[in-house]
């Protein structure tokens, strides 16, 4: 139920860039604003949602979970921005705001949930991201969407070099679309896995 809350924002992001993509030049800045707004709305939801989740799980205070999530946001953004540049994202003053916005969004999709659930537990991070071996339902809820977002962003970069001259081929847009689609798929997958897991457990219990 908590898991549902953090996907409320997806439609908002989907709708707005679509609507804007007709008017050429001003589009980029609009897009940044769009991202910023969506993040403003979304970050509390994500952080709160996963913090609640972690609280339920580990019986630690909500306050700390929120704090961890908040701390994870910029840290994850840094990691993501670095990743983007490694993969060849354009660097420069002109692209700074876009990259920062994108990195914050990616951080929300990938790092923040894990951070607010597991905090600085290095072992859990390793288990989730080095081995990719989630065990509990909450592992799945955290890990699959994050992987989905990263893989989606990776695929999303593909159309960028094509000479179609579409506004959405600009640096963060199609990557963002990719990340969001990947994240959605990951979420759906995690739902299914969690359902299956709980059914198994029920069978076991029986």
């Amino acid at each position: 139920m908590d898991l549902l809350t953090n996907h409320v924002w997806i439609p908002t992001i989907f709708l707005h860039p679509e609507k804007r993509s007709h008017d050429g030049t001003a589009h980029q800045d609009d897009y940044s604003v769009e991202l910023m707004l969506s993040k403003l709305f979304e970050s509390p939801i994500v952080i709160l949602g996963f913090s609640l989740l972690s609280k339920k799980l580990e019986h630690c205070s909500l306050k700390w979970a929120i704090l961890r999530g908040l701390l994870g946001l910029p840290a994850g953004a840094l990691v993501n921005a670095f990743g983007a540049i490694v993969f060849g994202a354009p660097v420069g003053i002109k692209f700074l705001t876009r990259t920062v916005n994108w990195a914050l969004l990616m951080s929300l999709l990938t790092v923040v949930p894990t951070a607010s659930v597991y905090g600085s537990s290095w072992k859990d991070w390793q288990r989730l991201y080095a081995h990719s071996k989630p065990i509990t339902p909450i592992d799945y809820a955290v890990c699959l969407p994050a992987h989905g977002a990263v893989i989606g962003a990776w695929f999303g970069a593909w159309p960028m070099p094509l000479d179609w001259d579409r506004p959405w081929q600009e640096w963060p847009i199609c990557v963002t679309y990719g990340a969001i689609i990947g994240h959605t798929l990951g979420t759906v997958a995690s739902f299914i896995v969690i359902l299956l897991l709980s059914r198994q457990q029920r069978i076991k219990r029986d």
Partner: protein, 1066 residues
């Protein structure tokens, strides 16, 4: 003896694959780069009698002799000034562009002439056909045809044009030609010139020799009477573009210099243009042979490269009515409010137009048409005669002037159409792939239509001439106009047809070549399998290398297919043609046939690939099984154990293999799209980063190696930045934007240079020193250590010293270019000497007969890299050390992270140290690709770094400079990575001396080389497929064909180097 046999048993696959690839590429290239058939027929004056156009006006009634050859000459003398790589915006007024750039409006003199009132001068946008290289354009301009790509290959040693051409016609008809400038002309037209002043054109660093020579001879020649056609070819702009780019001070200086020269030329001409003057009937043409990009490159088909300008001026006043002919569709107002128009003209039409103006026969193979506007510029010649005989009212004069001109023009077009028609007819009868029948029919109809009304025009002419002055001139003009339009339709249709169909491909050859290439991939794969099986056998039986019976039905089938293909080829043209005829009947035309063949082969090969891939596990199991059974040992449990080991090993292998395969497939498929080819460097870096991230994910457990993985990613970023900067031209102080900085902070720049250039090279030298020091050295390498190390270090010092001298940062008086060139020569000789010594070591060692231990190979690889590295560093220029340092560090990161991954796998599974996992090799390969682009190379001929060929030499020698250019282009992306490949294996573990360890080691080395070769072969195959599919694409000559040539050469070089390396290391 047994040892060498063992060696050959290991390395023969490399040679076999090399042979296959060479055959495949040779066949495909023969099919792909076929030229249009060149007809050697020539036009002559007497041909015209067979045309329907020879009207009475051609024959002087009094003497009954032809007055002139084909057309009535309009001018006596023509001056053709060619400015190489003249961009359209160099000449066109800046009002035509969104933004005025510093290089616009520099040729003021021509602009003023063209746009002053009542001028008889005009600026055109001239559109050339790719390939936009000077030789091809000269061919195009003079023959009036479409030169094809194969000529690029001949570009360095241009043979004489065998086709009929303008220069030949001019010389044949008694015109005296004088040529000065670019020496490309002379081999093209060896004995057509009356007088010539050629200057060397290939040294791009030299901006002035050609131009100064031309200026020195051009101005005096204008006072001479001993020429009819004067050709002056300036090269400065082209060279300035190649070296500095368009936005640079040398470029602007060059343009200003030309402005001055042209001003003088025009003044001289105008002074003598009066009646009876030397230049009364002189026509001035200033043309560019092609354009260039802002980066100064050309060769492709982009608008910037294709669009050049043409300035034409007749020295006579233009009669007013003629101006109504001019196209006024593209006009702009300049700042003074003058109306300026620019119409466009095809370079294809140049030969026909000049021939018509000069009154010589059109070149036989010309498919251009006489341009009306250029023809109108000399309208005065006829209207002069008109006005003297007819003295009527101004309206009548208007009519008669226009009418006279139109009559002339219609007559010229009639001859023009007849000539083009004659060429098309002869071409389609003498070439197997002529034009498609339906297109020919359409052209035929158009011609017949146009020709049907021709007698009308001539008869009406007579009629109208009789009732002159009756005000019917409007009707007459409209009749003439209709006739002209009809001819024009025909001529345009022909050139369109020629353009679309001219590059003809030999479908069969291409099909065979491609299928051999694809077959070779399968064979390659089975070789890798073989190498891996050998390892298992070693492991199982512990008795050295055993050649095993290979299960491959696939392999044998493929070999048969290849042999069949070769035999088919051997039966040569006869068989080929008959097959083609049959296939053409079935497939309607060659294009669909090629599609069918290529897709069939592709599907077949993919099927086999999948099949053999699926077979890998079971096949090898079976092999080992049978092997052990054959030995008849009682060790049933042993075979059981091996089987288990094998299957577990299989899984670990497959996972990584799949990732590697996936990434290679992405790269290969990306080559099918022009956008991805353009951004190939970024794609390679993207994939490299992907592997880096995957590695990071894998090693996230050990903190020490996390650092390695992260630093790999960081280096990747640095590599990206270097690549982006590497695109700008090498010599920085020349660019206008940077030159400001240079003057402001000489000292700062010095320190910056110290930091970016001297620091990396000293680190490099240190690394080399260390790597020599800390390797345990066996006896024969000791000479290297103590003999050559000082020399190598010395060279590393000499390289930056040379750059300092080159850049003139530190002013050292009295240093001649010879002394300066001595430094690179020393470096070359040290590198070469080192290579020689290595070869000696090889022979020496062979005699001694000691078996190599892996430590030896380690140091052999490092020495090899050092030797090549010296030369390549020298050639790469000042950004070289930075890139080299990055590449070494990245290579080290790859080796390190691979080691960790292996350690981890060893923990999980004891068997895996036997297999070589393809991911690091893939990474190595992608690194090589991105290095190619980061070092400033591109897959185009104009992207070659010609400057590198002249490091250490001032004069041009085709072999020597060719080798240097080759080493520069492929050095960092092919030579170094391939010779460095063994490091992936040698760094893996402690040096082993026992027999089994060695056997494992060599098998691994074989695998590494094979996998690397396979990856290159896969990409090259996809480039080939891409070229096949896109061969009618707009950019085929600009983008795909050069890419194919680069990849094909790269693949053969890779194979060759792998063979060499296998001889050297094994």
């Amino acid at each position: 003896m047994g040892k060498s046999l063992e060696k050959w048993r290991l390395i023969w696959p490399f040679f076999f694959i090399f042979f296959l690839h060479t055959a495949a590429i040779f066949l495909f290239t023969r099919g792909f780069l076929l030229t249009r058939t060149e007809l050697s027929s020539t036009s002559s004056c007497s041909d015209l009698s067979s045309s329907p156009c020879s009207s009475d006006s051609f024959i002087d009634p009094s003497t009954n002799k032809t007055l002139h050859c084909w057309t009535k000459p309009a001018i006596d003398r023509v001056i053709i000034i060619i400015i190489d790589a003249l961009r359209f915006d160099f000449l066109a007024p800046s009002a035509f562009f969104e933004e005025a750039k510093p290089w616009m409006d520099r040729l003021r003199v021509l602009q003023d002439l063209a746009y002053e009132n009542g001028s008889s001068a005009k600026i055109f946008k001239a559109i050339s056909d790719p390939p936009t290289t000077t030789l091809q354009r000269l061919k195009g301009l003079t023959t009036g045809g479409l030169p094809t790509f194969i000529d690029v290959g001949n570009s360095f040693g241009a043979p004489a044009i065998i086709e009929d051409n303008l220069i030949y016609q001019l010389a044949q008809n008694g015109k005296r030609l004088q040529m000065m400038g670019d020496d490309t002309w002379l081999p093209l037209f060896p004995n057509h010139f009356h007088k010539s002043y050629p200057f060397p054109s290939l040294n791009v660093k030299d901006l002035h020799t050609v131009d100064d020579g031309v200026i020195e001879h051009l101005l005096p020649a204008l006072y001479d009477k001993d020429w009819d056609v004067l050709i002056a070819h300036f090269l400065g702009v082209d060279h300035a573009g190649h070296i500095f780019g368009v936005d640079s001070t040398p470029m602007l200086e060059k343009l200003d210099q030309y402005n001055e020269v042209l001003k003088e030329v025009v003044e001289i001409l105008q002074n003598q243009s009066g009646p009876g003057g030397l230049h009364e009937h002189t026509f001035l043409l200033v043309i560019g042979d092609h354009g260039q990009t802002l980066n100064g490159d050309h060769g492709g088909g982009t608008a910037e490269e294709v669009e050049t300008s043409l300035f034409a001026m007749s020295l006579k006043q233009l009669p007013p009515p003629i101006s109504s002919i001019f196209d006024t569709s593209h006009c702009e107002l300049d700042m003074d409010g003058r109306k300026m128009c620019i119409s466009s003209v095809e370079q294809l039409d140049f030969a026909a137009t000049v021939a018509a103006l000069m009154g010589v026969p059109f070149p036989f193979g010309s498919i251009g048409h006489v341009n009306p506007e250029l023809y109108a510029l000399v309208a005065n010649t006829w209207t002069d005669q008109g006005t003297t005989t007819i003295t009527t009212t101004s309206k009548n004069a208007y009519c008669s002037n226009l009418e006279l001109w139109m009559q002339q023009y219609a007559a010229v077009l009639c001859i023009n159409s007849w000539q083009v028609k004659r060429y098309i007819n002869q071409y389609s009868t003498s070439s197997i792939f002529g034009f498609p029948a339906e297109d020919l029919l359409q052209v035929e109809n158009l011609y017949a239509q146009a020709q049907a009304t021709w007698p009308n025009v001539t008869q009406k002419e007579v009629l109208l001439n009789e009732e002159m002055g009756n005000g019917t001139c409007q009707t007459k003009i409209s009749i003439l106009q209709a006739q002209i339009d009809a001819y024009k339709d025909f001529l345009e249709k022909v050139s369109e047809l020629a353009r679309s169909k001219w590059t003809q491909f030999d479908a069969m050859m291409m099909g065979i070549g491609l299928s051999i290439l694809i077959v070779s991939l399968v064979i390659h794969l089975s070789f890798i399998k073989r190498a891996r099986n050998q390892i298992w056998v070693i492991k199982g039986s512990n008795c050295g290398l055993i050649e095993k019976p290979h299960s491959n039905k696939v392999l044998s089938f493929m070999t048969v297919a290849v042999i069949f293909g070769l035999v088919l080829y051997a039966f040569s043209d006869q068989l080929m043609k008959s097959i083609l005829v049959i296939s053409a009947i079935f497939a309607r035309n060659e294009q669909t046939f090629v599609y069918i063949v290529s897709w069939l082969v592709l599907l077949l090969a993919i099927g086999f690939l999948v099949l053999s891939w699926c077979n890998v596990g079971s096949g090898s199991d079976w092999n080992v099984d049978s092997e052990v059974n054959k030995k008849g040992s009682s060790s049933n449990h042993y075979s059981e154990k091996i089987r288990k080991e094998c299957s577990t090993g299989e899984q670990g292998y497959s996972m990584k293999c799949m990732i590697a395969l996936f990434l290679v497939a992405i790269r290969a498929f990306s080559l099918l799209s022009n956008s991805y080819i353009l951004t190939e460097g970024s794609v390679a870096r993207f994939l490299l980063a992907t592997i880096g991230v995957l590695n990071l994910k894998e090693v996230l457990l050990e903190e020490s190696t996390v650092l390695v993985a992260v630093s790999f990613l960081l280096l990747n970023v640095v590599l990206g930045f270097t690549g982006e900067n590497g695109f700008s031209k090498d010599v920085t102080p020349a660019s206008t934007s940077i030159s400001v900085n240079v003057h402001v902070s000489d000292m700062g720049q010095f320190f910056w240079m110290l930091f970016t250039e001297v620091m990396p090279i000293s680190v490099l030298a240190f690394l080399v020193f260390r790597s020599f020091q800390c390797t345990t050295v066996s006896s024969q390498w000791r000479i290297l250590k103590y003999g050559f190390l000082p020399l190598v270090i010395l060279s590393y010092i000499l390289i930056p010293v040379y750059w300092v001298l080159e850049s003139n940062v530190v002013a050292i008086p009295r240093i001649t270019s010879f002394e300066k060139n001595l430094l690179p020569l020393v470096v070359y000789s040290v590198g070469f000497g080192l290579l020689l010594l290595l070869a000696c070591c090889l022979v020496f060692e062979r005699k001694e007969g000691t078996s190599k231990c892996t430590g030896d190979i380690h140091i052999a690889a490092i020495t090899m890299l050092t030797a090549w590295g010296l030369v390549i560093l020298m050639l790469l220029g000042r950004q070289g050390p930075r890139i080299a340092l990055i590449s070494i560090l990245e290579g080290w990161c790859i080796i390190r992270s691979q080691k960790v991954a292996q350690k981890k796998e060893k923990l999980e599974n004891t068997n895996n140290d036997m297999l070589y996992d393809p991911l690091p090799v893939t990474q190595w390969c992608f690194l090589a690709v991105s290095l190619f682009f980061c070092a400033g190379h591109r897959c185009t001929f104009d992207g070659l770094r010609y400057g590198a060929a002249f490091v250490g030499f001032d004069d041009f020698n085709i072999v020597r400079q060719g080798i240097l250019l080759f080493v520069d282009t492929f050095g960092i992306s092919h030579i170094l990575p391939i010779f460095g490949l063994p490091l992936l294996v040698t760094f893996e573990g402690p040096y082993v001396h026992n027999k089994r360890g060695r056997a494992v080691f060599f098998s691994k080395l074989t695998q590494v080389f094979l996998i690397y070769g396979l990856i290159s072969a896969i990409t090259a195959t996809f480039t080939t497929i891409c070229v096949l599919i896109q061969r009618r694409h707009l950019m085929v000559w600009g983008l795909f064909a050069p890419k194919y040539v680069f990849d094909a050469i790269g693949l053969m070089l890779t194979d060759f180097l792998i063979c060499l390396a296998s001889l050297y290391y094994f």
